[in-house]
Structure formats: C-alpha cells, structure tokens
C-alpha cells in the first residue's frame, strides 16, 4: 500500500496539518484509493509545512506547503505515484534545504513514525546504547570526552568532563536530568526532536545513566510544550514495555527509568540549579555555586544536567565513534549544531550542519533573506540574552569562540532575523522587560536593575535627557553584568549594549549626533 507521510509536529499542526490529513483520507476514500497515512515528525523545513510526502519507487517525493484546499488538486495530479503539481518539490532529500545539511542528530527526525519502535531500531536506534553497555562506563565517558561534544544548552561545557565528575562523586544515588526547558525564543530544536524522534532522547539519557551509574532520570519539560510531553510519555511507556527501560535495560542487569515533569512558565528554570529547585517542588531560585550540581544536584545527589541536544548526540557518538563525530566542526566546536533559523526569514527551519558556516551564509544563502522581502537589519543569536549583530558581522563563523570574540553567543543555536523596520531601542527595552519579568529575584542588579533599565530606555525613547540616560543605561548594564549570580541578569545587558553600539541611530538625538 502507498504510504503518505503527513507531519504531526506542532508547527505543522499550527498551519493545518490535521486538516490536510483528514482531507487526504476522505478524498482517498471517496476515490476508492488505498493508502496508509503515517504521521511523522517534521523534517524541519517549516516554510514547506504542511509537507506531504509519498513513498514511491524513486524515494520519497514531497509536496509543500500544502493547504487543505490543495488536496483535491493533489489527487487530480496523481500525487500517489509522484505526479507533477505546482507544489511538488521532487525528491525531498534532494531539496537544497536538506541536501546541504549534515544530519547526525536529526537523521531520523521527520523520516520515521516517532513512536514506532521498529522504525527507530530499523534506522540505527539502540546501537549506541548497546555499545555503551558493552564497553562499560569508563570507556563510554572517554568516548564522549574525545568527541569534543560541548553542552548545547548554552554554556558549552564539555559533556564528557561533566559525566566524569558525576561518575567519580561518591554517592548512594545519582541522577540524569534532561533540561527540556528550551526557553530561548527563536529555538525549537529540542521540541522538534522530542516530537519527531523521542527514543533518541531515551537512548541518550540511558547511555548517560550507564556512564555515570544513575538509576533514575528526569526530563524537565517546559509547560509551553504539552504536545511534545505527550509524545515523549507515549514513548516512555513503549520503551519500558520493550525492555529498554526498567530493571534490566537491554538485558544488561542495569536498572534505569525516566520520568517527565512539567515546568510552570518560568524562563529562569532553564538555569540548571533553578531547574533542580523546581524539580524538588520549590521556587525556581538559582542556587549559588559551589556546590556544583555534579557534586550536589537533585536531592543533594550527584547529578548530570544536560540539554536535550547534548543527550541526543550521545547515541551517534557511541554508535559511530568519537573520531567520526569530531571530524565535523571547527576549532574547539566539534560536531554538528542544529541551527534554528527563525523570525523574519524566507526559508525558516532547522538546519543541522557542522560548526563554521558564517552568519551571512546562514541568513542569506540558507534562509533566503527576510520573509518580508526587505533588507536584513539585525540578527539575534543565542536567545533573549544574545547580542544583536548588524550586517557588518555577517562574516562571523558560527562557533562558540568566534561569537564570544564579538560579545555574542551562539547559545542553543537560535538565529532570529529582523528586517529594516525593526526599532532597536524597542528591542533593547524588551530585553530589560523580559529580564524583569523572569528574574528569580535573588540578586539586586538583576531584579531592580532590569526594571530601572526599562524606565531608562523609555526616557531615551521619549527624548528625555537622552545623553544622561544613555550613560545611565550603560552603567546599569555594567552593574548587571558584573553583579548578577547567573546569566539571566549577567547576559541581559548584551542585547541592550549591542543594540546601542550597532544601532545607535535608534536611541535618539545624541546617538545620532555621535554617529
């Protein structure tokens, strides 16, 4: 029977994928055609959603973006055998957006039925875990260390070293905690893989458990992602039934299980110690370090806290080897990064590639420039705490060090594009407002400084004592940078300062005069 793939990723549902699926099913029935509809995850080309694919002798042929009103014409065109249609993109894999990617972590995402265990195993699933069990904890940690994998949650800390610290800490219990808070606006890679390939996260966490000797794992999922939580919960049940979790993982005698917990709408709970407080049922207030979570984490036990993407990289590293993974990337940024190209962008979506493309290549060549057709003015990378870069910085290679050298950060890989209608003093105001709303309240510079920051930007925008207020804003930023305990207060100044530095003309008359 012909198989038709229609994504159930939430971003596809948001543009009508369920209606498209219902329409295709009804139309097939009306025409007496038999076809099996598979609800896959998204391949990540969100500008093509709803992307309908048909399995043919030459491979999967894609049609997109399909609206419910296109369905009748698809059937008229004979799409079930790959027929010609204005929205036919040809072989999906050959589409430039996919052909240019290096999909290691996202290899299965959008291809398979997310919760099908046979699909997962059929495309390499569980091989990394089997190898970890075979070579044992020390060699598993050595492999992850050698791969050069750095935490994908933002701070870029070497994952293997974190695992080793936890493994070496004496304890009666150790925990693996997956940070699925994905609070950075402009990012959706964690969501996409959990919705599209949830067993990869289960496998990654279980590899970590083998490596550090953990018996229990938690996934802390932001409450904005109920759809992903549902898919993941289904996958947990099926994985447990099949013996991939539980008291005897893959027949190894190891015991490990995972529970998912929902956050409650606090950005700061993505910070690892606030996350642990929240998991323990408390206010999500940041803990002073030391002690590190690796020594005293969840319930005071040694705990690995890793981002989703760090954990889902582990199966590939174990299956194909550290050298294979490390052969991608540049400098001290090894492997691939799933870029999330978002905002005012023509070809927005998830693009996994080795580190090292320039920002200009990402925005213009891959993203195709703005959706509005107007010139790109500014790009914010690394979420709400990331700097705004002007076009002059389009030559910056996408890697941890190159961005840091320009006072920017790659963070979780979000790239948000703005056209020339953006008002950068308004974006600076928003950065301060966001910090004020989300501050955990522990330090004064963050809690009070951000509120003062909003007021100061407002005065600048009103033209009140612009010169003095620009100096005051700069001072406030310096105080927050150096007087905050965590990166929320400490990095919120970066979008503000970068907006002032690169887009001074948006900050009133004095700035204009200084140009």
């Amino acid at each position: 029977m012909t198989r038709i793939f229609i994504p159930k990723d939430i971003a596809a549902l948001a543009v009508g994928a369920n209606k498209v699926a219902a329409k295709i099913e009804a139309e097939a029935r009306a025409r007496g055609l038999s076809a099996e509809i598979v609800r896959n995850g998204s391949r990540g080309a969100y500008f093509l959603e709803t992307l309908v694919e048909v399995e043919t002798a030459e491979g999967r042929i894609g049609y997109g973006p399909i609206a419910p009103s296109d369905v009748v014409s698809l059937f008229d065109a004979g799409f079930l055998s790959g027929g010609a249609h204005a929205l036919r993109i040809g072989k999906t894999d050959a589409h430039p957006f996919f052909a240019r990617q290096t999909r290691l972590t996202f290899a299965r995402c959008g291809i398979i039925d997310p919760t099908s265990l046979s699909d997962y195993a059929g495309l390499g699933g569980w091989r990394g875990l089997a190898r970890a069990i075979e070579i044992g904890p020390a060699a598993t940690i050595a492999e992850v260390t050698k791969s050069g994998l750095r935490g994908r949650g933002g701070a870029g800390f070497p994952t293997g070293i974190k695992w080793k610290t936890v493994a070496d800490a004496p304890a009666d219990r150790r925990y693996v905690v997956c940070n699925f808070d994905e609070g950075d606006s402009g990012t959706f890679a964690d969501r996409m893989i959990v919705e599209g390939d949830p067993y990869a996260l289960i496998e990654g966490m279980t590899i970590c458990a083998v490596a550090i000797g953990a018996t229990k794992g938690y996934v802390y999922c932001r409450s904005e992602y109920p759809h992903a939580a549902k898919t993941f919960s289904e996958a947990l049940v099926l994985a447990r039934q099949a013996g991939y979790l539980g008291s005897d993982v893959l027949g190894s005698g190891l015991s490990f299980d995972i529970e998912i917990r929902m956050g409650a709408g606090a950005y700061v709970c993505g910070e690892e110690t606030a996350l642990l407080e929240s998991l323990e049922g408390k206010r999500g207030v940041v803990r002073a370090k030391p002690p590190l979570p690796a020594h005293k984490g969840l319930f005071q036990r040694p705990t690995v806290v890793n981002n989703v993407l760090s954990l889902v990289a582990a199966p590939t590293i174990l299956e194909r080897g550290a050298d294979f993974y490390a052969s991608y990337g540049m400098g001290r940024s090894r492997g691939t990064m799933p870029l999330q190209i978002a905002g005012n962008i023509r070809y927005g979506g998830l693009f996994e590639t080795a580190f090292g493309l320039t920002l200009g290549e990402i925005v213009e060549d891959i993203g195709g420039g703005t959706a509005s057709g107007r010139p790109v003015r500014s790009v914010q990378c690394g979420g709400p705490l990331g700097a705004y870069f002007p076009r002059d910085y389009f030559d910056t290679p996408f890697d941890y060090e190159s961005f840091a050298a320009r006072d920017g950060l790659i963070g979780h890989g979000g790239v948000v594009v703005f056209d020339d209608t953006v008002d950068m003093s308004r974006m600076a105001r928003f950065a301060m407002e966001f910090c004020a709303v989300e501050s955990c309240g522990k330090c004064t510079p963050c809690r009070i400084g951000s509120t003062r920051g909003v007021e100061t930007v407002d005065r600048i925008r009103q033209g009140v004592k612009t010169a003095e207020n620009l100096v005051l804003l700069d001072d406030l930023c310096q105080t927050m940078k150096f007087g905050s305990l965590c990166a929320l207060g400490g990095f919120a100044p970066y979008p503000v300062l970068s907006a002032m530095r690169h887009f001074g003309e948006d900050f009133g008359p004095r700035a204009l005069a200084a140009e």
């Binding site: 948001a14 959603e49 979000g414």
Partner: protein, 158 residues
C-alpha cells in the same frame, strides 16, 4: 477546554492524595489542580501545606513564583499570544495592540463577558512560523490580524 468546575475541597484533597507517592509532588499537584479547576484557589495552600509538611507561606511562595498558576479563573477561552523576539520580528506586538483595541483588553485581562482571556507567552517553539499563539491549547501560526481574529471568533463560537 479549561476546567470550569468550581472549587471543591474533597476533589482537591483527592488530587493531592493521588500524587503523594511521587518524589517532590508539589508542581505535579499544582498542575493537576489548575487542570481541574482552571486556577489554583487560595484554599489549596493549606491542603498542600499539610500534605507536604510545609508552612502555608512556603506553599504560597511556590504558587506565586510560577507564571502558569492563575489565582483566579480565566475566561471561557484563553489565547496565549507569543511575545518572543521571533514573533516580534513578524509583527506580533502590533497584532496584540490591534486585538486589544478591538476588544478593549490588555495582557492578562478577560473580556467583560467572561469569554476570552489573553495571556502573554514567551515562545512556543513555533518561531519559524511566526507570529504564533495557542488558542485553548491549539497551536496557530503565521498569523495576521485577519487569521487571528477568525481563530478567536471560532473559539468563541461566533
């Protein structure tokens, strides 16, 4: 879609009891209470305090820390409109202003007929299809004033 049932102490106690076997059950209980009643009533604090062996002030501190937990019932329909930067780059703030002018609303307010509450949300992970929102939990994206208005009307059965 939101729990419209009124506060019921027995049902609340049941919900608390159902979760007590979990490690650190506070947040799961609060979510379950909000799911059931549409908000976390002040009466919940003493129940939780007793079950978890905490002071009422501690429980209140937790409830008030998290943006998700409502202290009063929301309107019959809830629109969560994204204010993240990606959505802003596609005009979400203007979209919100338009809607507020049309309905005489603001963030976290409910229309006078109790039909619609609009809440801000900071990213839904739909940033390549901005502007985005959830209406009664259902995702909608690539919004403009017309499609947002239609979605709101449809949810309200207009």
């Amino acid at each position: 879609m939101l729990g419209a049932s009124t506060w019921n102490a027995d049902r609340a106690q049941e919900i608390v009891d159902e979760h007590l076997s979990l490690e650190a059950p506070m947040l799961p209980i609060l979510h379950a209470l909000q799911e059931e009643f549409g908000y976390v009533a002040p009466e919940a604090a003493p129940l939780l305090a007793q079950a978890l062996n905490l002071s009422r002030a501690e429980v209140h501190g937790v409830i008030s820390f998290y943006h998700d937990f409502r202290h009063e019932p929301a309107g019959r329909h809830v629109l969560k409109l994204c204010r993240g930067e990606a959505c802003q780059s596609m005009g979400s703030e203007e979209l919100a202003e338009d809607l507020f002018t049309k309905l005489g609303l603001d963030w976290n307010r409910t229309t006078r007929d109790g039909e619609l509450t609009v809440e801000p949300v900071y990213c839904l992970g739909l940033c390549a299809s901005s502007p985005a929102a959830l209406i009664d939990g259902e995702p909608i994206a690539r919004l403009d004033a017309t499609t947002l208005g239609e979605a709101v009307d449809e949810a309200r059965g207009l």
